[in-house]
Structure formats: C-alpha cells, structure tokens
Subunit: 197 residues, 2 copies
C-alpha cells in the first residue's frame, strides 16, 4: 500500500467537520489537538504504527506539544519508546541537542531541546507529528537526529497541508514520508483533499 | 481500594532509577515525560482509568505539555474524550477560559487557555496530570472548571510530591484525589516513598 493512502476515518472527519479560516488555516482542533477523540486517535495510532513498522524503527520522536498525543498513540500500539523535544526547557539535562524553529502563529522562535542521552547514536528513529505544514519542525528534528548520528528512517503525519511544501525538507534528505490525510488546498471556504493515486 | 494505593510498577521504577537533584527536585524524565516507556505508560493509564471510573466522568482534562501523555493513555483505555489546556495559544478560538500559572522552573508565568466550547457546563470532568507538586496547575484547572460551571469529580496523578502540599488546593474543594505513587520526601540523595496505609 502506498505511504500516502488516505485513511478513510480521518478524511471523512476532515471533510465533514473542518472549519476553513482562510486559504492557509484549517481548524480541526476539536478532535485532533485541543480536544481529542480517543477512538479516532487510537485508530490513527494503530494505522501509523502499521505503516512505519517495515522501516524497523526502534525509537519514536516528536515535539511538544501537539505531537505528543499522536506519537503516544503510535508508541502504545508499537511498544516503541517515545522521546519528545521540549520547548523552553531549562531543566533538560545537558548536554542537549537544540534547534530554533520559527513560529508563524506565535511570532518569534521556539527552541526545541532534547537531552543527548535520549537520542543515542545509531538509533533508528521514526518521526511522528500531527501536521506536516511548512516543515520547519520536521527539519529541526531531522537536523537533531543527524547531529546525534542516529538514522531518521521514516516520518509519519496525521495531516499534510500539501500547499505549504513541508515535505520537501524531508524528501530532499531521502526520508520516506507517510501521511493519513493530505489537504491539497483550501479554497472558497472548503477543504480539497488529495485523492488516492 | 484506597485512592492512593501505591502502583507497584511505578514505585519500583522510581526507587530503582530516580535521580535526586536536591531536596525538592527528582528526575524521572527518562520514562515519564521526556522519554516515555510505552509499556509503563499504558499500564498507568489503565490503572488511572480504573480508579476514576466510579466517579463517572465524561471528559478528561489536562494541561500542556507533560500532562498529555498520561491523559491520552487514560483516554485510550476509558474511551473518554480528552481536552488539554494550551500554553501561549493565540490561535485558541474565543471565547476562552484562561488562568495565569506561576512557573517556578521557567520563571515568570504561563497562561493556560481552553476554548469555552470544549468545556461544556454540566460536564463531569476528571483532571489528569503527571505530577501533583505545588498544585498551581491543578488549582488553575479547577478554577477553569468551576468558571465553566462543570463539575470536577476526581483528579488523578502519576506522582505526588507530598512535601510540596499541592493536594491542599484540591482537598479544600472536596475534590477526590488519586495517585499512583507518593514521594514523602527527598533526603540525602534518596527518595522516601509514602507506604500504603
């Protein structure tokens, strides 16, 4: 099965319930990342766990805060340990890896920090996050994994906003990407999904 | 079973693996909230789900970021929807509830924000978090629940640091508290657990 096969339960919820704010912003936070529907999140975790398994990861990696729920759902299904990058974290034990990520919605930058001992050299890492949008968080995590001399073997996302181009930062590094739903574009107040090929 | 019966798998990990930094700070972030052990987190979620069930909650509530993993573990076990308060969240849809929480480790204050529509009046809310320490986050969430005219029927925590007194802010509101491990005190570089009564 192709890595971007639409996951029907998620696509149906997006089409039925998303609020399109403008041509870049779509709100689905009532089931994805402010209020979470446990049945859908559990099903998505199981599906992502199934899709990343062939890449034989031994560690999951995400970033605070909205990545934690989908990544934990994958962790509980796969039995893989989960490391999440912290934001604003003076109490992360040094030495640490860190990257500054521009934060368009919040203004300024956010610092992502991971204690080095939790990202061992040689680890086979699967990145998990809720959205792949402009790809800046994904790029920061990919750079950290490279600095740790670990291998980023696959990246899995619930929703890709294709029109923001974030996939490029992963595909140019030859990192396989799997997504459960791809939003082709937002137009005239509605969501246009990318169909299965 | 009393609500504070020690959960043996967690107590054992704390005693075997915690790093005591000083008489207030204990590090167990390698399995709890930076790197997560999925087997232990799943087991703790199941245990908390079992303990809160008699209070018949219909909604789980926690706060970014370290509350998300334990709360989702409970949500996946119980099938209850989960709402988490966001920090620094200009994109939460108004009207919203919010409280400022002092942040001792980070300095300054953190603003917790919840969209009002995700916390309906009359909801039976179970609060879940990783730590009950000074109780400031718990108090902020309790105040928000009261403002929403919802009912906080129980609060569940993985670890209570008894010497920081946070339970007081819940017990004075007659909110039942359940904990999986209680740290009585930190002394001479070691953790002293509260025993079962």
């Amino acid at each position: 099965m192709p890595l971007d096969t639409p996951f029907a339960p998620l696509v149906a919820r997006i089409l039925a319930e998303a609020t399109v704010i403008d041509d870049r912003i779509v709100k689905i936070d009532h089931f994805l990342n402010h209020r979470i529907d446990p049945h859908l999140m559990g099903a998505m975790g199981a599906e992502l766990a199934r899709r990343i398994a062939p890449f034989q990861p031994d560690l999951l990696l995400t970033a605070e805060a909205s990545g934690i729920a989908p990544a934990l759902a994958v962790a509980l299904q796969s039995g893989l340990p989960l490391v999440y990058a912290k934001k604003y974290a003076p109490n992360v034990e040094p030495p640490e890896f860190s990257r500054l990520v521009p934060s368009p919605t919040k203004g300024g930058t956010t610092r992502l920090v991971i204690a080095q001992r939790y990202l061992p050299a040689g680890a086979r890492v699967a990145m998990i996050d809720d959205f792949l949008a402009n790809g800046r968080t994904a790029l920061a995590l990919a750079e950290i994994v490279a600095e740790a001399q670990a291998d980023l073997v696959v990246a899995g996302f619930l929703v890709e906003k294709c029109f923001q181009g974030g996939r490029h930062s992963l595909s140019e590094r030859n990192i396989p990407v799997t997504t459960l739903a791809q939003i082709e574009r937002l137009e005239a107040g509605r969501v246009v999904m990318r169909e299965a090929e």
